[in-house]
């Protein structure tokens, strides 16, 4: 049983998806989905423990040995990612049943859970597989279900957001496919480990360069790197609240994983950073992303939009860490990936609770909420503080590591800019706090009750995680560091 964990990680949610059709009744389906996601979470914990203790796990699908068969290769990096994805998915699902009551008609709820499970399958598949073409297939499984999930939003703008995402996402995925095709053409293999050993041997031709360039552009579309982020804000703002909380924490992270995996383990850091001016390019785009997206966030009137733009900015921080091409920089990226998943899932889930009560996420409707929904608003404030990077929250830990890495690298101005970027976060978080606590609600508005416990519990689980991992950083930092170091150790 234990030997089959790598495949079970993917198969459990995959098989759970069609089973939902048999159960039919939405509350049963919800419980079942929760169970499937929770077992995926348990599996990822077991995998991470095993990987930390014994090193990389290799699982051959159907007993066919690589590079002919497909292998799943679990190392510290993907075990870490699988843990984030399945963990956030499980906690977010706790609130799903309550949230869907108001957002999705009864007869579509079963379909919602099926799509959710498929999306989870796709993301877990991308991180566990060791085969380049398999990555594309899982990417499309997760993306196609993501488009459909976003289109389930109540507002008609959800449809338009979903359509735009479909066009951009498909272009990105097809670019990745072209990249993989060119890699296969040069090496005759699709296995990542095999690719890594063969790529340095083939002539450093233009084909190889093109393969890498196509792959990177495709992945950057998927991870919403500024200025390829245009699909993200509307998709996050109009999707059902549960979907936003789940995707904001996971979907762009999976793309960042692909970027890291192919840059560091498949192509190797020397190749990647010498054929493309990645250092300057990503540093510039990352910093631009931080500033442009944070500034845009300040001017938004919909709180979901505020946090969606803030997500683009946070991706900027991860990309800045990546652009350093040092072990310390990569540790910062991975750590921020973990921490940002915690912050954004907490924030968007708390927003979901607000939407559940007042039916809107417009900033104007937040007036007076500080008193009427104290627990939910406190959660948003703590999430916001974490976003800014106040000590004792996770946001502080990853910004600290990032700034230290920048200074170690001799990039003083970058460190200063990172801190300056945090000030912009103060502005947009403050706007929400000010409206919720210091403005009186419109006269004549019905009093708003605090969110139900089914919402508060998962929100506060995530908020406590924000604080816990802000104080006790052993687990997150240790794993992120080990993963980053292993990538630099392995890379040819």
């Amino acid at each position: 049983m234990l030997a089959h964990l790598p495949i079970l990680q993917v198969i459990v949610p995959l098989l759970a998806a069609p089973t939902c059709l048999i159960l039919r009744k939405p509350s049963l389906v919800w419980l079942f989905t929760l169970l499937a996601s929770a077992s995926a979470f348990v599996i990822s914990i077991l995998l991470l423990q095993q990987v930390m203790a014994e090193g990389t796990l290799i699982y051959e699908l159907g007993g066919w040995s690589a590079p002919w068969g497909i292998e799943y290769r679990i190392d510290k990096l993907n075990a870490f990612l699988a843990l984030i994805i399945s963990g956030v998915s499980t906690v977010v699902l706790l609130a799903a049943h309550t949230s869907l009551e108001k957002e999705i008609p009864q007869d579509r709820q079963t379909l919602f859970y099926i799509l959710y499970l498929l999306s989870l399958t796709g993301m877990l598949g991308i991180v566990t597989t060791g085969d380049a073409f398999n990555v594309f297939v899982f990417l499309e499984i997760s993306s196609l279900s993501a488009y459909a999930l976003i289109a389930l939003g109540k507002d008609r703008r959800a449809l338009w957001a979903s359509f735009q995402y479909l066009i951009m996402g498909t272009i990105g995925a097809t670019f990745i496919l072209i990249g993989i095709g060119l890699m296969y053409q040069m090496t005759g293999t699709l296995n990542m480990a095999d690719l890594a050993s063969r790529l340095p041997e083939v002539p450093q031709s233009r084909t190889l360069f093109t393969a890498y360039a196509f792959f990177i552009v495709g992945v950057c579309l998927k991870l919403a790197l500024f200025p390829l982020h245009l699909w993200l804000p509307n998709a996050y703002a109009y999707a059902p609240s549960i979907v936003t909380a789940f995707f904001a924490a996971t979907s762009t992270k999976v793309a960042i994983y692909l970027l890291i995996r192919f840059t560091f383990s498949v192509f190797g850091v020397e190749f990647s950073f010498s054929v493309l001016p990645l250092e300057t390019l990503f540093l510039a785009l990352g910093l631009l992303g931080i500033f442009v997206a944070s500034t845009t966030a300040i001017y938004q009137n919909n709180v979901k939009h505020v946090f969606a733009y803030s997500s683009v900015a946070q991706i900027g921080y991860m990309i800045v860490g990546f652009s350093m091409a040092t072990s310390a920089g990569l540790t910062a990226t991975l750590l921020h990936l973990f921490n940002h998943a915690l912050m954004k899932s907490a924030l968007f889930l708390a927003l979901g609770a607000v939407v559940y009560r007042i039916g809107s996420a417009e900033l104007n409707d937040f007036r007076g909420l500080g008193r009427q929904m104290p627990l939910t608003m406190t959660a948003i404030v703590i999430g916001g503080l974490s976003l800014i990077g106040i000590p004792l929250t996770v946001g502080f830990v990853s910004k600290w590591v990032l700034v230290v890495a920048a200074i170690e690298n001799g990039w003083w101005p970058v460190a200063a800019l990172i801190l300056l970027g945090s000030l912009l976060a103060v502005v947009y978080v403050w706007r929400i706090v000010e409206t919720a606590y210091f403005k009186t609600p419109e006269p004549g508005r019905k009093p708003v009750k605090e969110a139900p416990i089914t919402f508060l519990a998962p929100v506060w689980i995530l908020v406590s995680a924000n604080i816990y991992f802000g104080i006790d950083t052993r687990l997150s930092v240790e794993v992120a560091q080990a993963a980053a170091e292993s990538l630099f150790g392995v890379s040819p």
Partner: protein, 122 residues
């Protein structure tokens, strides 16, 4: 030499036509058609890299020693299925958009959305 690689030229031309349609046309159906052309170019690319000059189809038979590489062909079957799923989903969304907005022109939809947000500001 350049003409000998004509299949790759076709790939590049189709790819550019597809991308151009996606970017330049505001009609949602045309965008999906563009997306299809773009994806088809990649299918042809995969099929081309699997071809071995003078090779037959990879079916076992007497006297066959040289045959094309079947792997890229199998891979692209998967990608074609994915492409069909994407097209189906895109068209379904276009139908829903038509129902919701009464139009399948990008400009009209964008204009209606902008109007809605403007009203809220007032």
């Amino acid at each position: 030499m350049i003409l000998g690689l004509y299949n790759y030229w076709i790939v590049v031309v189709l790819m550019m036509i597809g991308l151009y349609i996606i970017i330049a046309h505001g009609n949602l159906i045309k965008k999906i058609v563009g997306l299809n052309i773009f994806q088809t170019s990649v299918f042809i690319f995969y099929i081309s890299i699997g071809n071995v000059e003078g090779g037959t189809a990879p079916i076992w038979g007497e006297g066959i020693t040289l045959y094309s590489n079947p792997l890229p062909h199998v891979l692209i079957l998967t990608a074609i299925v994915v492409g069909i799923a994407t097209t189906a989903l895109g068209l379904a969304l276009a139908v829903r958009l038509k129902e919701a907005y009464g139009s399948i022109e990008e400009d009209d939809i964008q204009a209606m959305d902008d109007q809605k947000t403007d009203n809220k500001h007032c």
